[in-house]
Structures are given as structure tokens and as C-alpha cells.
Subunit: 285 residues, 4 copies
Amino acid sequence: MNKPPYVLTIACPDRVRTVAAVSSFVAANRGWILEASHHADPLANSFFMRHEILADSLPFGIEVFREKFQIVADEFQMRWKIADSAVKKRVAILVSKQDHCLSDLLYRWRNQEFDFEIVCVISNHPDLRGFVEFHGIPYYHVGVSPGSRDAVFGQIDQLLVRQSSDTIVLARYMQILPAEMCRRYAGQIINIHHSFLPSFCGGRPYQQAYERGVKLIGATCHYVTAELDAGPIIEQDVIRVDHGDSVEDMMRLGRDVEKTVLARGLRYHVQDRVLIHEHKTVVFA
Amino acid sequence: MNKPPYVLTIACPDRVRTVAAVSSFVAANRGWILEASHHADPLANSFFMRHEILADSLPFGIEVFREKFQIVADEFQMRWKIADSAVKKRVAILVSKQDHCLSDLLYRWRNQEFDFEIVCVISNHPDLRGFVEFHGIPYYHVGVSPGSRDAVFGQIDQLLVRQSSDTIVLARYMQILPAEMCRRYAGQIINIHHSFLPSFCGGRPYQQAYERGVKLIGATCHYVTAELDAGPIIEQDVIRVDHGDSVEDMMRLGRDVEKTVLARGLRYHVQDRVLIHEHKTVVFA
Amino acid sequence: MNKPPYVLTIACPDRVRTVAAVSSFVAANRGWILEASHHADPLANSFFMRHEILADSLPFGIEVFREKFQIVADEFQMRWKIADSAVKKRVAILVSKQDHCLSDLLYRWRNQEFDFEIVCVISNHPDLRGFVEFHGIPYYHVGVSPGSRDAVFGQIDQLLVRQSSDTIVLARYMQILPAEMCRRYAGQIINIHHSFLPSFCGGRPYQQAYERGVKLIGATCHYVTAELDAGPIIEQDVIRVDHGDSVEDMMRLGRDVEKTVLARGLRYHVQDRVLIHEHKTVVFA
Amino acid sequence: MNKPPYVLTIACPDRVRTVAAVSSFVAANRGWILEASHHADPLANSFFMRHEILADSLPFGIEVFREKFQIVADEFQMRWKIADSAVKKRVAILVSKQDHCLSDLLYRWRNQEFDFEIVCVISNHPDLRGFVEFHGIPYYHVGVSPGSRDAVFGQIDQLLVRQSSDTIVLARYMQILPAEMCRRYAGQIINIHHSFLPSFCGGRPYQQAYERGVKLIGATCHYVTAELDAGPIIEQDVIRVDHGDSVEDMMRLGRDVEKTVLARGLRYHVQDRVLIHEHKTVVFA
């Protein structure tokens, strides 16, 4: 059994020799590439790469890699990052009363479907404490009342810092985060919106879908930005409905889509498969 | 081989005894029901039915049916209609330069996949004349120039009347119909829009989809109303895209969805499977 | 809030007047039909119906309904049944080590997504006791060893009887039930098979799928019969895979399909939406 | 507007430095890589690559590329090929009476959706001559009668040779090709089978699907080998059916899947996106 791989992600201007420079660097150090993905965006003149490199195959550790590779990176004006997938992402989950997404993520965490830590669950309701604590995960009830928003999100922020969480999942958390917090955690907050965005932004999307009479409903996993429901989309999916489906039926059907879409999006994120480029994503699925 | 069935469609307030009244009427006349579909909408207090009745099983023709059934209909305040499916709908197709939907509908017509007549094809471009006339179908080139809209749609209207068309299909026709025409042919004009409405109304929806970075693109078949892209939706579908797909790729992938969605929608329409209720549809698929 | 409805399901030879007879019976007793579904199978000369009738709208209870309706049923040679949906189905879940389906069903039960009782969980492994008992549901560990099958299934049978379970769900239970038990509980045992049947019957279906190089994998929810993986299919679904997916990836992707397909199938079953006809099902979804 | 790219495809044992060797070769010759795809198969110890290289960016033509690259190829034991996508694949279509796939391919060819030539259509029926010849494509009617198989397929073979066709599409051709012909054109004959293989091999798959009561039907595009319906799968898809769908309904629904799946598979093939590895495919979609 090998050590989990290093994941090298790169965004840079698109020019000749980029792939050769990176792969030659890796080869020169006898690095074994498990998985390689490239994407050239000619309109944006941008190039994106992701490599999984067998950690054991390299003659040095991640710090030395960083030092040595910086020379290549500088030459090609790369924004880049290397992550050791042996170090699990530290995920804080924010949730309100509905627990289909939370319950699904807890299942995947229990069964180690993919690697991530759930460092805590934070909720504006006390209801889910028992289920979360059964899993041995800390549960913080931080109620939100009119006028309390500043204090509340200050408190949440402290919890996130204390738990050293690097990823925040809004698993049907029905509060809007402060813009400042969205900016500070840019590319680290993942939301599941219960519609096929950009249709039905904002509140009560299933009600909106019902009223419009659409024949498919969907869900969207996206990074949170200060502008509501407008952040870069990571993953989406849909399910068929018809005239016989009430708003409640749509909610039931939609929950299955929401939880699957969120889980896929989170997996892409924690495995460093998502590169954000302006307001869109490159997902090396 | 039996005569094609009669199709009886009914919308009425939802109350006790409606189904019994209709089915007893049919049974009393020894009518054989091939297919029966019901939908109760408790919010709108409305009830919808569709029956396919074996024409040969009744002791009288469609005119006598109309006369006799009116008594039941009056008692239950029904809006209703009976259609003889032996009489094919007369479909006029409007098209611009792109012919994927037209080509697909011509295939289905040639092969009698479902029953409809194509009485003519009208286009603002001359390009598709040869292919249409190969099928023995009249092709009218009615060019649109700035300032000519009134004359143009007057001419189109005359063609529709002359051909006794009862259904108008906008098979990627890139002109906006006059509001007055939309109202006059309410429930008879079917459009295919190249997005998953209500996302990306208006022009260049694939460009919009590309810019937003959605992970699925779609198409919507809907009845045309005076308000652009806002009419009752008949059918929708989607297909997956990713960061590697350019606008041109989306257009290519989308064409396959567009033609399938339009064909399904048209089939539902010509088989009297669609009941319009306010700005939504009941589709007894 | 009304009492939950009665659900009347009927299978009979297809002949004139059936619908009229049923709907007139209901109407004569002022029964309010919430939902009605019909299916005529001309090849089998069979007719299938399902009605949801508002319990409160009838002047009598379910026992009197049974008595009175028998007269109609006899005339039309109906196999029929009326169920009070206020009386929840009693579901016993059999499971081995993998708990994605179990976990998903427990979520739906906790949140009352649809009405059913989980009367107990029986497993040939002790692993899931804690999670099940957290829900307040009895957990029975009934290990299977070579030569113990008769004793084991005798014991399981006793548990099922003691819990008055009327529905048995094999939620990835990796043991084959005795043929005699399959026959005795015909139409009451639901299995989830981890392939798109009839492809890849038997063991290790993901391994089989990988070796064949299929581009979609699936799951099948079906009633269990004495013949392995050959019972009437209730529901199926698929998900896309490609050459990059290992057997382990397929297992991960497949789990999401399995749990959704099983949940849909179970919902259809407990809501009396499934009518078995020989080795196939009519599902009034 | 650039010249269409060269497409370089490689299969070789999986070892360190392969990617570096290829990309360095390309970079050293100032080749611009438009698209790069890699796949490592650890179980088979195999590595697969596909590069699209801007033809104009290289200082030499394809023949010189072949010569120079052979040195790299030898070192890494590559099976490899470079194709000039300016040279269109020459496709012969074999068809019987059903023309949904043929009609769809003709549409895509007419509209240059992707690059390929249709050099001729060969059929065992005369029916489709008019439609094919309207497109300016030669149509050969080669009837099949009992005992004539040897002569018939000899004649077809001559036509294929005379037209220099490099790709043969069985677009619902209802005859079985001789094993010898399958072997000689290995990796060049594409069939569309009207089921989700490996379910329902052989004849009348929709009838088989109907009898089994499956809830989804599908289609499979695969390379033809001497063993019926067992060749490497290129693409598959499915569509939902229910108890209300007759065999005829399934055939109608299935046709839409068949034509889309075949068109996708053919596009992958003519763009050299498919690498066959034993009895499976790697598809760089």
C-alpha cells in the first residue's frame, strides 16, 4: 500500500512547452504520475493542469518539491499548489433543520468513501445534536435572531478558526453569510442550492419551479461568493417531475438530487479537482 | 385493425362523481376505453381527464357523441373536446437556416412515427427548399427585412389559413411572432427554445450558459404566448457539459436535445395529450 | 388534516364497464377519489387500477367497504385489495456489512419521507448494531456459517413472525434466501441488486461490468423469487462510468444508484403502487 | 483559421517518463498541443495517450513526424499512430430498411457536424435509394438470399475496397457479417445494437426487454468482432420506459437512443478518440 499521492494543480497562461516543463521536472525526479489532466482555454488564453504524483516515488518530501518546482513555476507564470492527500481536508458543516445532506455526508465520512475530516457541525437549531454526537463529532448550536447576525457570525468564525477548518459546507444552511466572510473564505465555502441555477435563485426555489411548471428540477453545488447564488458552479444535476408533483413531491425528489450533487462537489473539492477561474470552475472529475 | 380512437379531453372543477359520470356515459354506450388518465389539482380545485375510446365500439359517430355528451359536460361545468385521431393535425413548420429540428421532424413524418401532416414549411431563408421539396412538401420563402414585419407576418398568416394548418411549429425559427398572432393561435404554436427555461431566455442562450459555467445545458418545448419564452412548458430535457466544452460544443450537444424535446412535445400535442391550465400544462404522456 | 386515504388496487380481465362500475360504486357512496390510475394490457387481456379514496369521505369503514365492494369484484372477476394507508407497512430490513442502503432508509424513516415502520434489522454481522440501536430499532445478529443455513433462516423466520413484518427488504444482504421462504413471502420480499438486470446476475456484478467495459452501470430493485435475480422488476436506474473508473470507483458510484433505486422501489411497495402480474410489475408511480 | 490538427494516439506499458518523453519531443519541435488526454490502467500495466497537435506549429509535415517520433516510440515500446485530421475518414454505411440512424448520420454529414465522408450506402433493400441519392451519395442494393451470403459479402467487400472506405458503419444492418470480414476489418466496423448490452444480445431485443419487464431500455455502439454483440463497447445510453409501453413504444423510444449513441460513437471513432485495448475501449471523449 502506497502513501496517498501528492496533488499538483496549476493555472497559467497557455504557451508552448508548459506540459513538457512540468512532466520533465517530474520525470527528472523519477516521479510516478498516477493521473494527469489538462485543459486549455483558448478564449481566456489559460492553461490548467492537475497531476497526482506517487509520493513514495519522489526522492524528497513536499517542502523540497515546493522549493524546486518554484523555478519552473516562475518561468511559466504559474499559480500553483501542491497538496499532500495524506493530510485530510478539515470540513465544518453548517446546517439548519433539514438533515438529508448532513446525513448523507456523515454516511460517506463513516464509510471513508473519500478522505475528509468533519471537524464540527454548526447549526442555528438544536435538533440534530443527538445524531451528530452519535458520530463523535462536536455539535455547536449557534441560534440566529434578528439583530444578532454580527455576533452570531463572529462566533461561527471563531469556531471555524478554533477547529482549523479549511472547508465550510453549507448543507442546507438557511442563513446568508456576511459578504466579508464570503470574501475571506473565497474558494473554501461550498453551498448546495436547491434549484438548477441560474433558474430560481433566492428563496423557495421548489415553489418557484412549481409555479413555472418546469418538467425537471435540479440542484447546484457552488462556491459561495458575496453575491447570492452567483458563485462558481462545481456540479449540478436534475430529476424529472410532472404535473402530478406537488411542491412537497418536488422537495422529496429534490432532496435526493441535492445530497448527491453536494457529495460529488465536496469530493471534487477535497481531492483538489476543482480549479476556480474567475466565476467559473475547471473540474478534473 | 381498428379505426383510430377518439380522444376525449376534459378540464373541470374537482368534485365527487366526475369520473363516474364520464365512465358511466361511455359504458352506457358500450364504449371501449383504451387508455384513461386523470389528474386532480387540489390547489386549483381542478380536474383533468383524457380518454382514448375505441371509435368502432360506439354505436354512433363523433357528432352524435358531442351532442349527447354535452349534457354530462354541462352538469359538471366541463371545458371539453373530442378529437377523431383518424383526422391528422395539420402542422406548418417555420424554420430559419438551422435544420436539425426540421430534418428530425421530416424523418418522423416520413416514417409515420406518429400521426401528423406537414402541410408546408415556411422559412425566412431559401436554403432548405431542396430538402423539403424532396419530401413533396411545399416550401415558402418569406424573407424578413427591417420594416417588413407586418407584411411578412400577414403573408405567413395567409399561408397558414390557405393550408388550414391547426398547429404551427417554430423549429428554430429565429423571428419573433407578433403578439396578436400569438394570441389568435393560443395553444397552437409550439416553440423549441435552446435553453432549460427559465434560465437563459432571449438570445444566444448557449453563449449565456457558457458564460455562467453551468454543468448541464437543456432545451424547452413550450406553447408560444405574447411574452417571449414565458409560455406553458410542454417538455424539457438536459445534457451534461463540462469546462472543456466551447460554445460550439454546447451548440452541437444541444441540437440533439432540442430535436428530441421538440419531437416529444409535438407528439404530445398532436395526440391531444396536453391540457393547458393557465400558464402551465398537464401532459398525459 | 384528513385521515390518510384508502388505497384500492384491482387486477381483472379487460372488459367494458369496469371503470364505470368501480367509479360508480365509489361515487354512489360519495367517496372522494384523490388519485386514479388505470392500465390496460391488451396482450394479456388484463386491466389494472389503483384508486386513492379519501377515507373521511365514505359513510363507512374499511370492513364495510370490503363487504359491499365484493359484489362488484365478483361480477368483474377482480383480484383486489383495499389498504388503509393509516396502517403503516411493517418492514424488516436484512443487511450484511455494507450500510449505504440501510443508512439511507433509516434517514427516510427518521424524516417520515413516506410512511413505513422499520420493525427490526437483521444482519449476519454485528457491525451495524450501534447505528441501528441509536434509532431505537431492534437489531438481531444472526450469523451464517456453512451448514447452518436451515437453522439460521428458521430463526430469521421466527423474528419476522414475532415482529409481524409484512415486508422484507434485502438491503445488500449477501445471503441467498431459501426457495421455500421466497415462495411463502411472494410479493413481500424486495431486493436491491447492484447491476442493471438482466445484465450481470449473480456475484460481483461491478467486477463483471468492469470486465465487459460497459459505459453505464446500474441497480435493480425487484421482488425476490426462488430463481436468483429473476423476480419482477420494480425500479432501475443507471449512472455513467468510463475507462478511468476502476471496480472500486464503480462500487462508489453504484452505491448512490442502489440506495436511490431501493428507496423508490420500497416507496412504491409500501404505498401499494405496485401490482405484480406474472413475472412483471405494473407500477403506478 | 488553422489547418486541422494532427492526432497522435499512443498505447504503451506504463512507466516513468512516458509523458515527459512525448511532451518534450513535441515541445522541442515547437508543437502546440491543443488537447491532451492520458489514461493509466494499473491492472493492465498500460498507458494510453492522445494529443491534438496544431499542424501549423510544427516545422515539418506528418511523414517527417512519423520518422522522428519512431525513435521515442521504440524506446517506450509504443503502439502508436498519428492521423492528419484534414484527411477525413471514409465511411461506408450498411443499412437495411430502418433509416433512423442513416437519416441522422446524413443530417450530421450534410451539416458538417464533425468531419467524415460518406463514400457509399449499401443495403440489402432498395427502399432508401431515393433519399440517399438526393444527397449525392452512391447507393448500392446488394440483396441477401439464402445461400447467397458468400457472393453477397464478396460483392460488399469489393465495394468497400473500390471506395477506399476505412470505416464501416452498420446502421441497423440486419445481416451478420462473415467472421473473416470482422477479423480483417478489426477496429473499423461499428455497429449499433438496440439494447443495453450485455443484456438482450441477438435478435428482437425490444421484445426481450418487454418480456423481462425492465424499466429502462438502451442502445450500444460497439466494434464488431466475430463473436456476435460481444465486441468492445464505445458508447451506450438508456431511456426510461414503464408498464404502459408496448414493444412498439419501446422501438419508437429506442430509435432516438440508437441514433444518438451511434452518432456519438462514430464521432469518437473518426476523431481517433477511441483506443481499443483487448476487448474494451479507452474513449477520450
